[in-house]
Amino acid sequence: MIDLDKALLKRLRDRDERAFRELVEAHRDRVFNITYRMLGNRAEAEDVAQEVFIAVFKTIDSFREESKFSTWLYRVAVNHCKNRIKYLARRHERDRDELDEASPSANNASLGPTKGARPDRALEGAQMEVLLQEAIASLDEEHRAVVILRDVEELSIEEICEITGLPDGTVKSRLHRARAALRKKLARHVEG
């Protein structure tokens, strides 16, 4: 099934600037939401979302119309996010090593889950959002991608299989593990 107009696809392949703008306008919020939820940082999310569209523009000729365009777009987005997470983790490790050398007590200032938040308020509004984002960020990138695509973006298991290139069973098991991990983390926060 294809969700991209044939005429628009042709214009995209002709590198029609207006067609690119139409495409960006149609998908930017969804792509940004995925990158933001995957990375948990607006600046990084915006940067990666831009890279996603640039990659899509560059490789639009390789898009085979066998799957939905959005599936292909989200696959590019998820892969870019995974790469960025790995890159950031490496950079964080390097920075931490440098900090360790400079100050042995620097580890105490590491970013961890919010502690001391009152449970009754933790589940409300913005604080819940922060807790959830932290809980999502604590998952590894494979589990994070699956749970975001399923529970945040509300895509079907079939679509997630196409996006991740994983078999049905693997997607489900990752989803189960991710939810169970989130459940534990959130319960810990709520229980104080």
Partner: protein
């Protein structure tokens, strides 16, 4: 322990991986009706299942209730600028007709031209738009000038 997650092990406080998988499928409406009924029965009678199910539902609801992050308003413009900068303006090889031709400027030039031509016609002595009436007496027709025989 049995491999069937519906055969519960009440001695353990935590659900096993298989049980979690089953519960997760239940919350995703992926179970056939008979299995779903069995899970409902388990949730009703087993506090472990009930607690886990409530937690699952709350987690799922919280995730789906996360605010949709919107891209910055300048996203498209920033992206286009980035592409132009990186490609030196060469990326968008064939631009659309509307991008190549500045219709707005053409419209203004056209209006100015029309006004200019209209003014010239208006101010001209012989222009068809001239409304000036001449006071000079009408010239006599040639027949009147002919000498009578």
């Amino acid at each position: 322990m049995s491999n069937d997650p519906l055969q519960t092990d009440a001695t353990n406080d935590e659900l096993t991986d298989d049980e979690i998988a089953l519960l997760s499928d239940f919350h995703d409406n992926l179970l056939p009706a008979d299995k779903a009924k069995e899970v409902v029965a388990l949730i009703d009678r087993d506090p472990r299942w009930r607690g886990a199910s409530d937690d699952f539902a709350a987690t799922k609801q919280a995730l789906s209730g996360l605010q949709k992050a919107r891209a910055p308003v300048t996203f498209s413009e920033d992206l286009t600028n980035t592409i132009h900068r990186r490609s030196g303006g060469a990326f968008f090889g064939r631009r659309a007709f509307g991008d190549r031709v500045p219709f707005g400027v053409l419209l203004i030039i056209g209006i100015v031209l029309i006004i200019g031509v209209a003014f010239m016609l208006w101010s001209s002595q012989t222009g068809s738009l001239s409304s000036r009436k001449t006071n000079a007496p009408a010239e006599q027709s040639g027949a009147d000038k002919l000498p009578r025989p």
